[in-house]
Subunit: 343 residues, 2 copies
């Protein structure tokens, strides 16, 4: 009776709801326990990079603290190629396009003697490189346009399910960085909404980002081509046109973020000069706590080592900017206990 | 002591958490009560429109039922002008643009004799209409471009805080339809993610959609102009250019939905021919339950009555399509107990 007296509001309904308390408190306690006692980033070695992340998240989530940020403003943006999955020896989407040219070749006998297609079919990368950006645009046009969005989703999904990276002999969706998956989950567990902001094709990523990264289609920003709406036999379709709509790279990243998200992120994660403006937009000239991070590929043994002179994922001016702006630079070799889940 | 004995697991921490129980249980109980016993759409009169909404939501949320839809696919899109707030005697954003011309006029003495600006300053709507779309584009260019996104947000927010609709004498943000606010909340309470998909300017809406509709900036799709990224004294800005980027109307709506959301909605709400393709994209040629709804403005007394021959918000081919496709048509006069919260 004593306890009842201490809680005069307790009645039959409250006692009934007490029956659900163990469930609630288990959920609360397990969240609490993970946050308090388990390492939320087990694939990260201790050091400046890891502690800068933990410190930032602690500051923005400490209610009543000077750096507290309300949940609706906890927006974090992640580049994809080289930040969440591999981009060497070439962007995965380019590997898709080259494979696709080979699949389509029997229907295009003229490609045997026509560049840049002949170069792709002959595996002649020197000739392919010589065809330059114009050649690349032609390849993207024939492999990415001329079908509905639903058809393109099926083509890319089928390819991703069967294609294997040559060096690792694994599907590309397994060549995602385990420490970054943990970081995505850790931020979400702390109230962040996580977005992908990639130079890659928006419709190339969306079919699998939920399953692999936990990021739903509506939180993916990327490059796109134009589409045309058509009613075909009463069924609406979007037909993919061979015309660029938006390039979500360099200055395109803050523009894409503004267009899709509509407010500035408080944290941004990249790995190349293509991410420079996204990190500037996120961290500079803004009030309140901000966080910028660059993944520096330093591990030729477990993955690849490249930066200032790389063809894909060049990290040069952004690396210099990181020092000036106090962005965290992750040394993959030193800071990551493992790179892939299978390591 | 008796109670403690009945709950042997109770210790000091549990007693502490008991202190938070009243808060938790109040929240749980009120959600439960609303869902179970209170009418979730109190401003809707009984009838076909209301029951079609309740029936659809019941079907897609019934676990194990034939029409169950997982939460991540419960996407609902809402037009804004004429669907969530008024669009007569003209779109609110046009009222903003005309007011803005007047504010800017002292810095542009040449406007006194230059169309379409002279027409705006003289309140000569016949001359303004005569300037056509070209005139309108000129007005939008000077009022919506030539400043940073942050400056534009301040200009529009200040205007919305002070501007009053002539007929109702109220801020535009009070001229939102109470039944539709209830519908937005009801869908969210049932696991839907609610998006705005409007022909209006995306950056005109975003500063207030969270507060008024409960829709965050990242769930607003709209028309936009191009922006340019600039570093000014080390601070990044996006400068608004007098160049159209995207028109989110008619066939632009499914294109915008695909670009921003990346999957098809299962429910769409509009009021005009500009929403026809959004409702087609949502409801036709797709498997599983789909819902389309048009608000038909039939109440000249409490709001406005218009459809097939209206200059703003013309509802003609979409009204015919509704009959063919079994979309719900809301008769404002008959179906809505009140139009505005202040009714």
């Amino acid at each position: 009776m004593k306890v009842i007296k201490q809680f005069p509001g307790i009645n039959r309904r409250a006692l009934l709801s007490l029956a659900t308390l163990p469930l609630l408190s288990t959920a609360l306690r397990s969240t609490f326990a993970v946050a308090q006692t388990l390492d939320p980033l087990p694939s990260w070695n201790g050091g400046v990079a890891k502690s800068s992340i933990l410190d930032f998240v602690a500051r923005v989530t400490t209610q009543g603290g000077p750096d507290f940020v309300p949940v609706e403003q906890r927006i974090a943006t992640f580049d994809n190629d080289g930040t969440l999955w591999i981009e060497q020896p070439m962007y995965v989407q380019l590997a898709f396009a080259l494979d696709r040219v080979k699949v389509m070749a029997p229907m295009h006998p003229e490609w045997k003697t026509k560049q840049p297609f002949a170069a792709v079919l002959d595996g002649d990368f020197k000739a392919l490189a010589a065809s330059g950006e114009k050649g690349l645009v032609e390849i993207i046009a024939v492999t990415h346009a001329g079908m509905t969005t639903a058809e393109f989703e099926k083509i890319t999904s089928d390819w991703l399910a069967t294609a294997r990276d040559h060096r690792f002999g694994r599907p590309y969706t397994e060549l995602v960085y385990q420490p970054m998956l943990e970081l995505l989950a850790y931020l979400r567990a702390n109230g962040f909404k996580t977005f992908i902001v990639s130079g890659g094709g928006i419709e190339f990523m969306r079919p699998w980002t939920q399953r692999i990264y936990g990021v739903p289609p509506e939180q993916v920003v990327g490059s796109s081509i134009k589409t045309r709406f058509e009613l075909k036999d009463g069924a609406p379709t979007l037909f993919r046109l061979p015309e660029v709509n938006f390039i979500d790279d360099k200055t395109g990243k803050p523009i894409g973020i503004n267009e899709h998200i509509g407010h500035r992120p408080i944290a941004a994660f990249g790995n190349s000069d293509g991410d420079l403006e996204m990190l500037q937009w996120t961290t500079l000239g803004a009030s309140g706590p901000r966080f910028g991070l660059l993944v520096h590929h330093t591990d030729a043994e477990r993955e690849y080592a490249y930066d200032r002179h790389s063809h894909f994922g060049k990290l040069d001016t952004a690396l210099d900017a990181a020092a000036v702006n106090r962005w965290t630079v992750v040394d993959m070799k030193k800071d990551w206990k493992r790179v892939f889940a299978f390591d």
